[in-house]
């Protein structure tokens, strides 16, 4: 049945770097429109998990399915890089927002968004500009269209990065600690954009240390540690009454920090 098929499914996914196992037999499903917060200690594999979903990393074993389509190709038991064409198709559907924003430093905010559309989708110039301006307006940065990244605050850069990613009209958005590199006073402007996106029905997987965001804007929270999901559940429930000592410890340490 259409309705019951998850938008994104991670199946028995493992990832090692050399003999260092980072993710071990991990399963995770996201329904269409679901917002999932990924929490856990640093070095616990949150970034690695997200990066396996758009193939910035290749898993060691396991599968990722997008709308029922298997994304990871195997040859002789080893995951192999998808063809450039297949890879492009995956990455057009899976947007990613990085901790360090990673805007193109030689382009203005608007050019960043225009370039991405034209290079990835072959959008016409007029259409790309129109869409870029609409998206900048949506993230509250219409007045910064002509600014270069170096002239923008962290919060502004991250909002441009979100707009740039949205410009490809992805089906799923991945966020890797989107506010960790931003001054605390500037975080709310980014979180507000993300919350709006969540309310608009975007399927989102968000690695974060923002418990406020997790509680208010995410449907489900997943606690990742030691290469696996220790527990998961409705965000409010998991964050208010965690079942495991390890989760409690983590949340207490975060609250004290």
């Amino acid at each position: 049945m259409e309705a019951t098929r998850p938008q994104l499914a991670v199946k028995d996914l493992s990832k090692s770097f050399g003999d260092h196992t980072v993710l071990s037999h991990l399963d995770l499903h996201l329904d269409r429109g679901e917002v999932v917060a990924l929490i856990g200690p640093s070095g616990g594999g949150k970034s690695t998990l997200l990066r396996c979903l758009n193939q910035l990393e290749l898993p060691t074993s396991g599968q990722v399915e997008l709308d029922g389509q298997e994304l990871v190709a195997y040859r002789g038991g080893r995951a192999v890089a998808s063809s450039p064409k297949a890879l492009q198709k995956i990455r057009r559907q899976v947007g990613m927002v990085f901790q360090q924003f990673n805007l193109f430093a030689n382009m203005t905010a608007e050019q960043n968004i225009v370039f991405a559309q034209r290079a990835a989708l072959g959008t016409s110039k007029d259409e790309a500009h129109a869409r870029a301006r609409a998206l900048l307006d949506r993230v509250g940065l219409a007045h910064k269209a002509g600014s270069h990244p170096a002239q923008l605050s962290g919060g502004q850069q991250q909002r441009v990065a979100i707009a740039r990613s949205l410009a490809l009209d992805p089906a799923v958005m991945l966020f890797d600690e989107p506010t960790s590199a931003i001054d605390p006073e500037m975080r709310s402007e980014v979180l507000a954009v993300m919350r709006e996106l969540a309310e608009g029905g975007m399927t989102m997987l968000v690695s974060t240390h923002e418990m406020g965001f997790a509680k208010q804007a995410s449907d489900r929270t997943v606690f990742l540690c030691d290469g696996g999901i220790l527990e998961q559940g409705p965000s409010r429930q998991l964050l208010d009454e965690p079942q495991h000592d390890r989760t409690r410890q983590f949340l207490r340490a975060l609250a004290e920090a």
Binding site: N54, L56, P84, L87, Q88, K89, R91, R92, G95, M96, F98, Q100, F101, N102, L103, F104, A105, N106, M107, F115, A116, A119, A120, L121, H148, P149, A150, Q151, A161, R164, S165, L168
Partner: protein
């Protein structure tokens, strides 16, 4: 000394420097592309090229090409040799420029489904060029001085003319001070022009 010879000698020094630099900067792009190619053979060729060319003194290359191969005029030999040597150095300068572009931007290009070549051309290369520009410029200024080696194979550039004048007149001060000043002026001119060019290239954005 006969000062009337200086304009032509100066012109030769400028010609060797600029022509070799032009060759080096263009050929350097090819070498660095080979160096970063996905084909192992191309990468190996590029490594051997940069290491061998830089590992042998330019004077030895000049003699080898002029006396050993003997296909080119003295001036042609100087331009070719200095151009090829510059290609190896420029390639290395470009390479470190490319490596200095923040890796996150390359990842963003990939995550945004931008074809690799487009991303390299439109995002990575322009930033690498700005990072590399000062090193390319200082190589060019070094080349102004290295071009004096061409006097050994008989190119009548500044050092050659000064040397001949000194031998004829017995006065070693006037000719060498004169050409020394000319080298200095040319270097300074290049430095200023290069600085302006770099600033233009950089425009309003900065990579760090």
């Amino acid at each position: 000394m006969d000062f009337s010879l200086l304009p032509e000698a100066m012109l030769l020094t400028v010609e060797i420097t600029l022509a070799a630099m032009g060759i080096g900067m263009v050929l350097g792009v090819l070498v660095v592309v080979a160096r970063r190619s996905r084909f192992r053979v191309l990468r190996a060729v590029a490594v051997v090229w940069t290491d061998v060319v830089r590992g042998v003194p330019p004077l030895v290359w000049l003699m080898l090409v002029f006396l050993g191969i003997g296909l080119f005029t003295a001036l042609g030999t100087a331009i070719i040799v200095f151009g090829l040597v510059a290609s190896a150095y420029c390639a290395e300068i470009y390479r470190s420029g490319l490596e200095a572009v923040p890796r996150g931007q390359t990842e963003a290009l990939a995550a945004l489904a931008v074809p690799a070549r487009t991303g390299q051309l439109r995002v990575v290369a322009p930033q690498a060029a700005v990072i590399a520009a000062p090193a390319v410029l200082s190589y060019a200024i070094g080349l102004v001085k290295d071009s004096s080696l061409a006097s050994v194979i008989g190119v009548a550039e500044l050092t050659f003319v000064a040397n001949r004048a000194a031998n004829r007149t017995g006065d070693g001060i006037t000719p060498f001070v004169t050409v020394g000043v000319l080298y200095l002026l040319f270097s300074l001119l290049l430095a200023v022009a290069g600085k302006l060019g770099t600033q233009r290239l950089e425009g309003r954005w900065r990579t760090r």
